[in-house]
């Protein structure tokens, strides 16, 4: 499986993604520049974390108008696999590929720590190698990770089983204390209705090597590689 890792000016998790993916059997990853217009030859797209275009205007807003994002939209529309991590999640929301938006953390602080997540659904190509209710330990690092959607959108996300991961404590309880940023319903990651686009604030690519303290992020990439 060949992954395209998109690089915007200000991306800073692109190298981590390429490194993590290239270490997996059956996966190769290459950088794709934001001015490129084609994703030909790639099987999946990673929109990595960072501060694309300096987070000007709104996080991810400028990136969503870049040439490569027009190609990512077509790729997603034809059923291609797209995963957006952190700033990548913000970009996918700004592009309209995922519902809702990410706003300033409730506590105003930039939060950088290991965080527990509960797998809410394994009915996706991103979580099928996990078990429902599995608790993952994956780092977060963001200032604007508070997921917001109106009541109707939230109801639809729940009804369609689109919420794939929620913030929780080490026992898997989705409490207010375990919500690091004020996200509605402790939402950490969602997929689109057709289940081929996934966005999450936590960084699975930073949890793929025992030297980094956790390998729980592997389950996301293993899910993608498991056909």
């Amino acid at each position: 499986m060949k992954f395209a890792v998109i690089r915007f000016p200000g991306s800073n998790c692109d190298q981590d993604c390429v490194l993590a993916l290239n270490a997996l059997p059956g996966a190769t990853a290459d950088f794709v520049w934001h001015k490129d217009t084609s994703l030909a030859g790639f099987d999946a797209v990673v929109v990595p974390g960072g501060f694309s275009y300096g987070d000007y205007l709104r996080c991810g807003a400028i990136a969503s108008f870049s040439p490569i994002m027009q190609a990512v939209k077509s790729f997603a529309a034809s059923g291609g696999t797209v995963i957006g991590i952190c700033n990548g999640f913000q970009i996918l929301c700004e592009s309209g590929l995922l519902p809702g938006a990410l706003v300033r953390n409730k506590g105003l602080h930039f939060v950088c720590k290991h965080q527990h997540l509960r797998v809410e659904s394994t009915n996706s190509r991103f979580t099928r190698a996990a078990t429902k209710g599995q608790v993952l330990n994956i780092p977060i690092a963001h200032g604007e990770g508070c997921y917001f959607a109106d009541d109707a959108t939230l109801a639809a996300l729940n009804a369609n089983d689109q919420i794939l991961v929620r913030y929780c404590d080490n026992e898997g309880q989705t409490t207010e204390a375990s919500n690091p940023n004020g996200s509605r319903e402790n939402i950490a990651g969602i997929c689109n209705e057709t289940r081929n686009v996934f966005g999450l604030m936590p960084h699975p690519e930073r949890a793929c090597d025992p030297a980094l303290g956790s390998t729980d992020g592997l389950v996301i990439f293993d899910s993608l590689l498991k056909c």
Partner: protein
């Protein structure tokens, strides 16, 4: 205002796009500023909301609908923000 481009003289205008968080969206910046305003000694501070203003120079004959399109599709995010336009 007048601006010369080649032999043509174009009338331009400045418009302001005012972007505010929707009332239903948490605005922790506004809440923090409200606290600081109380510390400043301002009496009776209620809810504080922080938005932004974008000033754009445009040709005078720019269609209203084009300004709204820019405000809706780029300058604001309708999921979390409302906008208004001041000419």
């Amino acid at each position: 205002m007048f601006e010369s481009i080649g032999n043509e003289t174009l009338r331009t205008m400045k418009i302001l796009v005012n972007v505010m968080p929707k009332p239903s969206v948490l605005d922790p910046q506004g809440a923090a500023a409200a606290e600081a305003l109380k510390h400043l000694g301002l009496a009776g501070v209620g809810r504080v909301r922080i938005g932004k203003v974008v000033e754009i120079e445009l040709p005078d004959n720019t269609e209203e609908s084009e300004i709204h399109r820019a405000a809706r599709e780029l300058l604001s995010n309708p999921v979390i923000e409302d906008y208004s336009i001041t000419k």
